[in-house]
Symmetry: C2
Subunit: 319 residues, 2 copies
């Protein structure tokens, strides 16, 4: 056993005992990737399954952070502990998290029953998705009963991360239906709870009717969960209790009918597939170096080989 491994194990033990600094360091290790991250994942994995994961997603500006903050307040009012992962894959170049109005959430930062962590992409987006899963598992393993995963934006990766939750809340605003550009179908498809936030603004009734209509047009299996619609005002906390009731109703039903267990199994299967893809990508990077790589690229650039033929040549003997 190396000193490094011992240190990660000590951190893990401390994090399980409630040491937040140790937990934060382990999350940094997960973000960093590599063998040490894997070591954290290996320790966490057998201890997982007790925490409940709520995904919160929606277009930017919908008030997700404020809403998350009001959910935290609601949970703290019931003396529940809660962890929040705020995921921001929107910054492909700078690699830095754009905090924006997330600052508001920091009002909970000094509360020992609340743990908040931002994660931003470092290069590969698939990597962020995997790192988020690992981070969720770590929070679960160290005993967090509620893990809120908030994603910024509604691109494919954001939606994929959000849907990797036990309950997915999709946040919209009054007037949402007017926007041609919103990825409505995709968002509705993953929603277990539909939240009309900023519902004190004009148009909330119309938005509710629109959403109800869309749900009526959707097909659900008999006895399957039908998405609930909840109205909130994140800035005042109004509706946070109804939202939480909807989330726990979803949990109760899906626990009872077995669909939660199925969803969790499916999530792990997808993750395994993603890990395998990442390993192969890593192999691809190893292949694409050296003299042979240079030579084949030059043949392609001089148009004696097309890109697909060049790929065949590089992969010969590997696949």
């Amino acid at each position: 056993m190396t000193a490094r491994t011992a240190s990660t194990e000590a951190l893990f033990e401390d994090a399980c005992a409630g040491d937040r600094a140790a937990l934060a360091r382990l999350l940094s290790i997960i973000e960093g990737g590599g063998d040490e991250a894997r070591n954290v994942g290996r320790m966490a994995y057998p201890l997982t399954g007790k925490g409940y994961v709520v995904g919160i997603t929606g277009a930017s500006g919908a008030g997700k952070s404020t809403l998350t903050s009001s959910l935290i307040s609601h949970l703290r009012g019931k003396t529940q502990e809660v962890s929040v992962l705020a995921i921001d894959p929107s910054s492909p170049f700078t690699g830095g998290a754009i905090l924006g109005d997330r600052v508001r959430m920091q009002s909970h930062a000094t509360d020992p029953g609340v743990f908040i962590r931002s994660m931003a992409t470092r290069g590969h987006l698939g990597g962020l998705s995997l790192a988020t899963s690992e981070a969720v598992r770590l929070l679960d393993a160290v005993g967090s009963p509620w893990i809120l995963v908030e994603t910024v934006g509604v691109g494919q990766v954001e939606v994929e991360i959000a849907r990797n939750a036990d309950t997915v809340a999709v946040v919209v605003n009054p007037g949402w239906g007017d926007s041609v550009q919103a990825n409505k179908a995709g968002l509705l498809e993953i929603a277990d709870v539909l939240v009309i936030n900023k519902s004190d603004r004009p148009g909330a009734d119309q938005t509710q009717r629109d959403l109800e209509q869309m749900l009526e047009l959707s097909e659900f299996a008999p006895n399957a969960w039908r998405p609930m619609i909840v109205r909130t005002v994140g800035t005042t906390g109004q509706g946070a209790d109804e939202l939480w009731s909807a989330i726990t109703a979803h949990r109760t039903q899906t626990t009872a009918d077995g669909s939660l267990a199925n969803r969790r199994d499916q999530r792990l299967r997808n993750e395994l597939r993603a890990i395998i893809e990442r390993r192969l990508e890593h192999r691809a990077r190893e292949i694409c170096t050296g003299d042979r790589w240079d030579a084949i690229q030059n043949e392609m650039l001089s148009k004696t080989r097309d890109p697909w033929g060049a790929a065949d040549e590089m992969l010969a003997g590997v696949l």
Copy 2:
């Protein structure tokens, strides 16, 4: 030679002779992927290099389609032929293109000197990026002198597709600087021309000063191209000539200093790497089937193996 191959070859010959229906069918083949798509790519590749590719990107609502439409009018006024690829990766679930205000562009649809095509993601986003490159090459090969590639949205994939152009125009609006959420740094990083569209609205001067300041803070190699700032009003066509002048100025300089050739080489190298990654992903999908796959997944679900250990086991003997 199979009948199928002969048919694709006949289509290619027809497309090279100016048959737009044949061109449209070849683009559908490229979108569909597989061996037939590759066959199209192989025929097109040696004929490429004469067309010039202009990428147009920016936040949704910035007026890219209207601006593209005014560029088309400008080029048609100079009797130049032009092709447009409108790329929409924003719809991960439905797989359908969200046309939105792109309808406006259709005023050019009956003009035989204009070829417009929408492409949306079908599943894998990386696949859309590769299909876009193939589509651009096909348009180049059949003799299109100008290929405009317009992307919707500013996520990583959209930005990657847009930057795969010879000249990249980034479209912003007055007041753009107020938005915390915009991926400014990333957009500026790829811009060869910065377009302030809707510049008849208040705040255009301030936005211009902001952009100039950002450019002043950026570092450029001596004699390297410095992004030009152009003001336009897409709805009236105002500024389309200045925008086109900026694009051609960029072309002239980068052709002279060799950076265009470098950029094109780098683009092909990146594409080759992407093709290799896709092949490996395909291999991963092949691996992840069958009894052994089921058994290892079950070990993972029962927590006797963690996901990383399960991946090791599946990849043993492959990598």
